[in-house]
Every structure is written in structure tokens, then in C-alpha cells.
Amino acid sequence: MGHEGALAIDLSHVEKMYKGKVHALRGIEMRVERGEVFGLLGPNGAGKSTLIKILMTVIKPTKCTGTMLGSKVGDTETLSRVGYLPEHHQFPDYLTARQLLNYVGAMCKIPKNARNKRIDELLEIVEMTDWGDKRIGSFSKGMRQRVGLAQALVHDPDLILLDEPTDGVDPMGRRDIRGIIARLKDEGKTIFLNSHLLSELEMVSDRVAILLQGVVRTQGTMGELIESRANYCIDIEETTAGNTLVEIAARADATVADSGRGLVLPTTDASVAQPVIDALRAHGLTITRCAINKPSLEDLFIEAVVDPTTGKALPPGASKDKKHKKSKHEAAPADAGNGRAH
């Protein structure tokens, strides 16, 4: 067991090269603090599941220096403190929910009495108490997902990795799962979420990372990422040539951009916007709207995965090395953490 610091996950230079020279991960740098909900985003094939599987020892990394819960990544014993819900899990149809949880609990070395008590609690948490003794083969996808969540929690882990936890779950179920995640966070657990549902992540994540082409393109707290891209939008009633507006604003010593309907100031500081507003009004222009515009997680995601010069989505990830040419838009691993020091 290594030294347990403030980080639940601390990864450096994580690389994975599959046979055939498919380079799935190209040097992941990622840090997840204890007690936070960390969201991992990225298009299909970006390497998200590969990264999670490396953490769970399902895949062996080509290169990896880092720790999970203070121990070297790949340490088997640490897994007794980590819960995992895989994507597209296949639980045996012949087991009941209770039997599955019992099996997983035993595999995590939980004593029988503690296991039985915990199973009852978990079935209640995931609202499957009435179905505990029914075979999984008879469950709907949403019910399987609930049981899957329960099995990830059966040994009361410190770190929980959930790969698409709301996959196939109806809106009510999603709300329930969000509730469970919030509850786990309140209990001090660290939750590492991988999901395509950006709105879901936005609601529960403290921090997010966006993975593309096997590297982290962006990571930071939701606040940091949003604030760094938030801006003032000033809309003008009558369309005036954009360059005229920019010139007016320049006279007020402000850096602005033409939005088509007015101006955009790359700041949320009202004191910076005020002189621009004054200058516009001094020129007799009517301001119809003045508001701080905060991007959604989807905006951040699109920004990260779209080539700004072409406006087209960048290739998501894994490609054969010999064909791979480093794009000028592809972030180098060292550039990955642009949100925070870690």
C-alpha cells in the first residue's frame, strides 16, 4: 500500500498500444481528488473505457505511472476498495440479484454476516428489494443497471468507477441514480463517471475531463471550465457593421468580438463591459440585451472535439500509428490540464 494522499487517482503518461499498432491512449495525465465526482467525456473510441479498464486491471497498459487510492495502478489488493460497473455488463442470468451481490461480496472478501446486511441495504437503495430473489434473466435493462450499481457498491468501496451507469435507464431511474451518486458523494466516496449523457454529467460532476484521440484535451472543475469560456454578450437593436462596433469598443480599451447581433466580450467582469456599453450608447446605438453567457457542458464538449478551422469533428481516437499524423489541433499530453494545476 502506498502513501494515501488527497488524490484518489493520479495518472501520468498512461499509454496503451494494442496489437497492430493501434494507439488507444497516448499519454493520459489525470488527477481525481478524493470525495469528488469526476466525469470523463469523449466521443466513442476516444479511449475512455480503455482507461477505466486499465484502472481495473482488465487491460494491461503499455506504459503507466500513477496511483489509485495511493497504490500503484494494477495492484490487485487495492481493488477491494474500488467498485466498478462495467459498460455492457453481462451478469449470469441464472443468479438472483441477491445471489449476484453475495457472489461479488464474497469475491471482495466481505464476511458473510456483513455481506447479508449490506445486500439488504443496497437492494433498498437501488429500489430492488422486491426483486432480490428473482433471477436476473427476468430483469429489464434498467433493473440490471440498478443491480449492477448495487454490485459495484457491495463492498462499500472508497472509489467507484461507473461506466455509462444510466445506459438503458428511464428518466426516473436516472434521477434515482443521480440521487445515489449524490448520496455516495456525501458519504465521502470518490466517483469516477464515464457517460455520454452530458446533461447527466453536468448535473452531478464536480470536475470533468474530455478525452479525444487518446489524450486529455480539457480537464478542470465545472466552474473553471465554464467561467473560462463565459462572456458578456451585448446585442444591438439595429444591425451595424461588426467592424464598426469593434472599433467603438476598441476606443473603450476592450477586447471584443463580433457576434453578428452585437459584441462578445471574453469576460464576466461587469466593470470591463461597462465602458463598452457606454461607448455604444454614446454612438446612439440601442442595446437590446446584455447578459453573461455561460457555455453548457455540451458546448465545452463540442468545442473540444471539433476542429475550429474546419468545423468538423476530429477523429475520436485509436488509429494505427503509421497512419497517425499529429494534428495541430491535437493537444499534447503536457497541455492536457488546462483547467487546474492538476
Binding site: 479498464k53 482488465v58 490487485t76 489488493e77 481493488l79 453481462q90 443468479l95 445471489q99 464474497a106 472478501k109
Partner: protein, 397 residues
Amino acid sequence: MLMQTWAMVIDAYRELCARKLFWITMALSGLVVLIFAAVGISKEGLTLLWFTLPIDGINTDILTKKFFYQNLFQGLGIGIWLSWIASILALVTTAGFFPNLIQAGSIEIHLSKPIGRLRLFLTRYLTGLLFVALQVAVFTTASFFVLGIRGGVWIPTVFLAIPIVIVFFSYLFAFCVLIGVMTRSAMPALLLTMLFWFALYIVNVGDATLVGFREGNQAIVDRNTLALERLEANTRKMVIEMKASEGTENYEPTDADLIAAMPLIERRRTDLVEEQEDLESLKKWAGRIYAVKTVLPKTAETIGLLGRWMIPQEEIDATRARSDAADGDDDETTPKPEATVEITLDDESDDAGQGMDPEAIEREFRSRSVAWIVGTSLAFEAFILGLAGFIFVRRDY
């Protein structure tokens, strides 16, 4: 540590219980046990339920009840049912054991637990033998009681069938696991294992055939060598007597004299040389197939160990003697060929040169050591499992 192992055993048991084939096999085992209960032996012959079927050689004058039931259990119960039919059903049931484990969505659940991959692999392998272990344990226990109650003979050695059948099946299952791990699919695992088993069967039949022919031919060469020596001695005596009658005393006949007096000697010598060459060839091939068999699992011979341990050779010899004696009583008027030499001198005896000695096969197989039969088979199994384990441990899922 034991908690995880026990959890995997319980899981494997539940998996088996969920498969219809497991219960079908169990029901068929019950049927075979019922057949044991229905069949018996009396002074008059074979009994089936309330009927007596007078069959030559099957009565308590020749076969003891114990010998009869031991043979019934070993021949029908183990030799046919458990080591063939039930084993095929077991392979069908367990071929998917590893492919199911390593399929996407399932393997993650297992590998993400605090258990080493090698231990996971080996535990899963051992739990895969549970099917056969349960089947053979239930079958043997039921047979023990049925034979005891119905036949009045209590044969505790039937329980030897449990380890023997499990070890026998483990050879095949190891191969099945290797293919399953390599292909991640149950169907190729099953089909290739059946093919492998068939190849082992062919090797075993080849071994038995060559041993039979080798021993049969050895006996013929020995016999014909002796016959030739006697023929030469008789001819020598005849030539000496002939020369003596011509007035030459103490004549020492040359080889040419012998051949001149008995041209058959030359033909017999030529035949003998050919027979010896054939024998050498047979010995060479039997040696080769023995060498091949040494590195392969010996399925039939492993099962054969049960017969060896359950029914001692003395018991077989005694039964054979009683059977021969009974045959002798029937054929008292038939003269026994005493002068084997004369028989082998007939041209028809050449056919016997092609013959084989089935009893020699049994003698040879019984003489092979347990260490060779089981030890080398387990070495093969360990190698195959090592290879499968290596793939399992190293692979990304």
C-alpha cells in the same frame, strides 16, 4: 482466500444446476443404476427383473456375484456410460465455461476483484470439473448401494471411480479450456476437443493393435523357431540314420545334407527370416506409437485403471480357469492339440502369423505403471493448462 474459492464453487454449482443437460445426465445416470438393479446372476444364468436368461458362461458356477457386478459396474457403468456418454454430455455442458467467463461484460466483473488472474483461472478450471465430480459421485454412491442391496455384494472399490473419472475428464477439459480461451467460443472448444479425443482413441487403438500383433507375432516366431529347430533335429537324426544304414557311422550331416533331405527346411528358414523382419518392424512401430502415447493423455488406460484395481488379475485368471474347465467338460471328446510344432508346420499356420494376441494386450496394458499412465497424462494436462493460463493471464479483455 477460501471465501473467494468457495464463492466460485457455489457459482459453478448454480451454473450447472441452471443447465438442463446437467439434470438430463443425472436422470440418465439414474437409469443406468436402475439397469444395475434389474440385472443379476444366478446359477441358471443371467437374471433380468423376474426373468432368467440362460446364457453360456454367465452363471454363478463360473462368475462369482462380486466378479459379475464389478464387471457390470466397470464395463457398463464406467466404461460406457461415464467415460463415454456422460463425458460427452459433460463436455457439451462445460465447453462454454471459459468462453462465458471471458466474454465482454463478464470478465470485467471478475478481474476487477481482488483476486489474481492465475488463481481466478485455476479456480474456474477446477470448478469446471464439478459437473463430472457430481455426476460420478452420485452415480457411484447409488451404484454402491444398489449392488449391495440388490446383488448382496458390497464393493467399496467402486468409489475408486470418482478420482479416476475426474482425472480422465480433466485431460479433455484442459484441452477444451485451452481452445475456449484461445477462441473465446464454446463451439470450437467442443468440436476440437471431440476431435482431440477421437485422435487419442485412434492412438490407443493403434497402440493396442500393434501390441497385439507384436506379441502374437513374437509367439509365432518363437514357435516357428522351435519348430524349425525340431525339424532340423529330426532331419539330422534322419540323415544320420540313413547314413548309418549305408554303413557310414558317426556321420555329421552338413547344412546342405539337411536341406537335400528336407527341402522344407530352407522354406521354413526363409519364412522365419521374413517373420522376424515383420516382428522387428512391428516392434519399431509399437515403440514409436508408445513414444507418441507417452506425451499424450491416456484416456482409455486411465479408465482401465479402475478395472485393474477393482478386479485383480488373480480373480480374472481364476474365472478364466473355471470357464475353461466348463468348456473342457463340454468338449471332453475333442482332442487337445499337444504337438503345436506339427500344427505350425502346416501351411495354414501362416495365417496365424498375421494373428494377434488379445490377451497380450490386456497383459501389456496392465503391466504399464500408474506413474506412466497418470503421471505423463497429468504432465500433458499441466502443459496445456499452463499454456491456457498464460494466454488468460496475459490477455487484454
